[in-house]
Structure formats: C-alpha cells, structure tokens
C-alpha cells in the first residue's frame, strides 16, 4: 500500500490526474505531493517518499540528472521516469540512470488507469522473484525510547515513524529533536501526538541526516519527553472541526465565491480599492527602480547560503531565518497545491519584512514600521524583480 509519493512534473494537468490515481493506491492518510519546480524539488527530503514520479524534462532541468541525484539520497525509493517519448533509446537511458520503471506519459483515462495498475505492482505484498515483504521487517518499538537513545548518542537521523493509521517524520540533529511532522501537523505538537500513536508502539526506519533540518522544536529532548510523560500524550486533535465561527459548505463547491466569509463588495473607498500593484516576477519590468530605504536586506540561494547583503548584523542568523521561512512556505505551498510564493510580507509593531522569491533564491528586507508604507514595500518587490533579470 502506498503511503507517500511525489510527482515532479511541469505538466500540472497530468500531475493532478496522476495524483488522483496514486491516491487510490493508498489509504486515507496517503500523501501524494506535486512539485513543478526542479530546484525546489531538490529542497525536499526524498527519503520520505516511497515513490517518486519524475519527468525526463522539468522546465530547463534534465530530469535524468535529477533522478541520479535523488537516487543517491534515497536509494530505497522507487523512481518512475515519465517521458513524452517512448523510443528504446529513451527507455535505455532512463534505466541506466537508475529508474525502476519507465512510463510513456499517459494522456487518456485508459492510459492513466494502465499506468496506475503498473505502478501498483511496486506496492503488492509479493513481487515476482522476491520473497514476500514482511510487515514485521521493522519491528514494533517504543518511540520514546528510540528518540531518547538517538539523542543520547548525539545522532543526526530522520526517523520515519509508522503507526497502524498514520506516518510521520522526526528529525533529530546532533542529539536534539529539531522537527517533527505528519500530514496536518508539525512541530512540538506533532511530536507529542506521534509519541502517543498506538500507545507508543510503532515501526521506525531511520535514515542518516546529511543536512541541518529546519528547527521548530527548541525544547531540549529531555524536557520534551518529560512533558509528554506528564501530560500522558493526548492524541491528534485535527478531527475537532466542530467550530462555530464559520459555516462549512455542505456540498463541494467549485465556485469559491459561495464560500466567502463576507458577503459585501470590496472596499467602499474606491481610491483605496485599487487592485494590488505588486509586480509579477514573471513580467519584465520597465525601467530601473531604486532600492527603497531599508534597515537591512540580503539574499540567499536555495541552499540557504548568504549571497549578498547590506547592513546585515548577523549574516549567519539572517540567512538561517530566510531559509527557514522559505522551507516552511514550501510546505504551505504543497498543502495548498500551488506554486511557490512570489513574495511575502510580515507586519509587526516595530518592523516590517518583505521576502521575494524566485527560482534562484530569496531576497529579504527589513523595514522600520514607523516610516514604511505599502508603496515602499511594493518598490522593494519591484526592485527585486529587476535584480533577478
């Protein structure tokens, strides 16, 4: 049964159709992520996916090169190369590059059904020529004990945790729990929930961590486990949706207008109601835009390295926080099934921040709230777009 899969494709329509098909191979908690950008795909931890479907060409990136890279990171995952060409040479190259299966891109419902059936073969309990897969291959263990042992040893590992109903990840870096996540929740709460899954008896696969994971859990592991012990690990609460604040549409609605919380027209003040004028990174701007007055600003690449900056007091911290936000927002983009964010504004009592992302990196500026208005923030976004070009 499929638990977690990733589709890397520039063809959104195909990706969504395939996603629906793959979800049928799993259970209610099966997760199938879609990523359209090769660079962002390299930010994901491929170890978490049992199955990765990969186009031979992803925009300007060679999918086969990406396959080799991902295969090195996650040899246990099954890789399916999807190509628009079905000739023997393409097949041979795909298999030479490490693909487990080659698929000509299915374009009709019948072809998609056949493709899903073929992929299903990966997840059958018995495969020809192989011994039956044993569910007990990873024995039931006490999760809290394993976490404690790994932390005591100062390990850096990703624990892939699987209960009877759910699966999730715990990132331990240099002996501390840095992050935990499962579909629908992340951070300390996710960790607490996971410790309580199946009364703590779960199956675990561990993978050596080769990079610093994002940190959402700051509490030392001893304190973390103590807290959980005292609170007796309550179960997940994501099913508690019985709020009174809004009314849930009883029937699926394709017209999102029906779902508006408010029923009035946009702002009354027509002058203020002008549409947002944030420039699109995809549109080549005209003319040179000066950099607005900022407290500080910097740029990182997609691996989190600081490339440039001005008035940056602590470069390492600045690069870290930008990278952290970038990674977190990548998770949000996956949850919303949208492309990655173009720009982000954070408004605070004393400071305002603007982050602008493109396929090469993220720019981050800090403004003094006292003298910054929307115009300056827009100017910064525009300036960033011009810098990218």
């Amino acid at each position: 049964m499929l638990h977690q899969a990733l589709i890397l494709s520039s063809n959104r329509e195909y990706a969504q159709t395939m996603r629906q098909g793959l979800l049928k191979l799993g259970h209610e908690h099966t997760r199938v992520d879609v990523e359209v950008d090769a660079l962002r795909a390299m930010q994901l931890a491929p170890q978490q996916y049992e199955l990765i479907l990969l186009d031979t060409v992803l925009d300007t990136t060679n999918g086969l090169q990406l396959l080799q890279l991902l295969k090195n990171q996650s040899p246990a995952s099954k890789f399916v190369i999807v190509s628009d060409a079905s000739d023997e040479t393409s097949r041979a190259i795909a298999y030479q590059s490490g693909a487990d299966f080659f698929l000509e891109r299915p374009l009709t419902p019948e072809a998609i059904a056949l493709a899903i059936e073929a992929i299903k073969g990966f997840f059958k309990p018995i495969r020809p020529g192989e011994p039956p897969q044993n569910e007990d291959e990873n024995p039931l263990v006490n999760l809290a004990d394993i976490v404690q042992m790994r932390c005591l040893s100062g390990d850096s590992v990703l624990l892939l945790v699987r209960s009877k109903q759910q699966s999730g990840d715990i990132f331990i870096f240099r002996g501390e729990v840095f992050h935990a996540q499962y579909p629908g929740k992340g951070g300390e709460e996710a960790f607490r929930d996971m410790i309580g899954w199946d009364e703590g008896r779960v199956r675990i696969r561990s993978i050596k961590l080769t990079h610093v994971p994002p940190r959402t859990i700051e509490v030392p592991y001893r304190q973390l486990l103590d807290r959980i012990e005292k609170s007796a690990a309550p179960g997940p609460d994501i099913t508690q949706t019985g709020g009174e604040l809004f009314i849930v549409s009883a029937e699926p609605a394709s017209d999102t207008a029906h779902l508006s919380v408010v029923h009035e027209a946009p702002p009354l003040d027509k002058a203020k109601a002008a549409p947002a004028v944030f420039p699109s990174p995809n549109v080549s701007p005209q003319g040179e835009t000066p950099l607005p007055q900022v407290n500080s600003h910097w740029k990182i690449n997609l691996t989190g390295e600081l490339l440039e900056g001005s008035q940056v007091a602590d470069p390492e911290r600045c690069a870290f926080i930008t990278s952290f936000i970038y990674r977190k927002m990548a998770d949000v983009a996956v949850a919303l099934e949208v492309d990655y964010f173009n720009h982000m504004t954070l408004l605070g009592p004393h400071l305002q921040q603007v982050l602008v992302a493109d396929n090469m990196g993220v720019r981050h500026a800090v403004f003094d709230a006292a003298w910054t208005n929307e115009e300056q923030r827009i100017q910064y976004v525009k300036w960033c777009c011009e810098q990218s070009f």
Binding site: Q240, S260, A274, V277, L336, L347
Partner: protein, 104 residues
C-alpha cells in the same frame, strides 16, 4: 475567498470554511506553519503579527493574536486597503465568537 480558519493557541481548529479541495487538516497544518514562522521571527527580535503571502494570483493572509491564529486564503491579490477591509469584516465575527485579533 477560498478558505478561512481560526486555530487556537493550542492548535485546535475552532472554526473553518473551505471549498472541497482544502481539507481542514491542511488548514490546521498551514496555521501551525504560519505560527512557527512568526515564532521564529520573534526569536530574531523581529516580531510580526500579520503575514501576507502571494502565491501567484492567490494570497494567504494570517494574523496571530493571544487566543490563536486566523488565516484566510484568497483567490485574488491584495493590498493594504483590502486587508483593512477584510479584517473590518472578519473582526466583528471573531469578537462575537469571543476572539479579539487585536489582543496580541
């Protein structure tokens, strides 16, 4: 508007609306992620209470208060005037539900 939700400071999804493509658990996950981002910024001495994230033509707006985090996912770009108007519409409803977003 595509979706909206209010998640308590304990991470409980107290109220939500969405069309069929966004699951409540996803809203909960998004709220948790937004909260983590705001928390990380606080730790960097760059406290923020409101976030606006543009995903192409769509926008995610979130605002944290003492009692929890409100988020709205809009099918349009926004500007400050739209945000002001949005919260002028949302706040009374939240206050009626015992939530004041202005309490930070």
């Amino acid at each position: 508007m595509i979706a909206a939700a209010f998640v308590s400071d304990e991470g409980k999804l107290l109220g939500w609306c969405a069309n069929s493509v966004i699951l409540p658990e996803n809203l909960c996950f998004i709220a948790e992620t937004c909260r983590v981002i705001l928390s990380a910024n606080r730790a960097e001495q760059r406290a923020a209470h409101t976030g606006v994230v543009a995903f192409g033509e769509r926008t995610l707006v979130f605002r944290e208060s003492a009692s929890g985090l409100f988020l709205a996912y809009l099918d349009s770009p926004t500007n400050d005037a739209v945000l002001e108007w949005l919260f002028s519409q949302v706040n009374p409803r939240l206050v009626a539900g015992g939530v004041n977003l202005d309490e930070i």
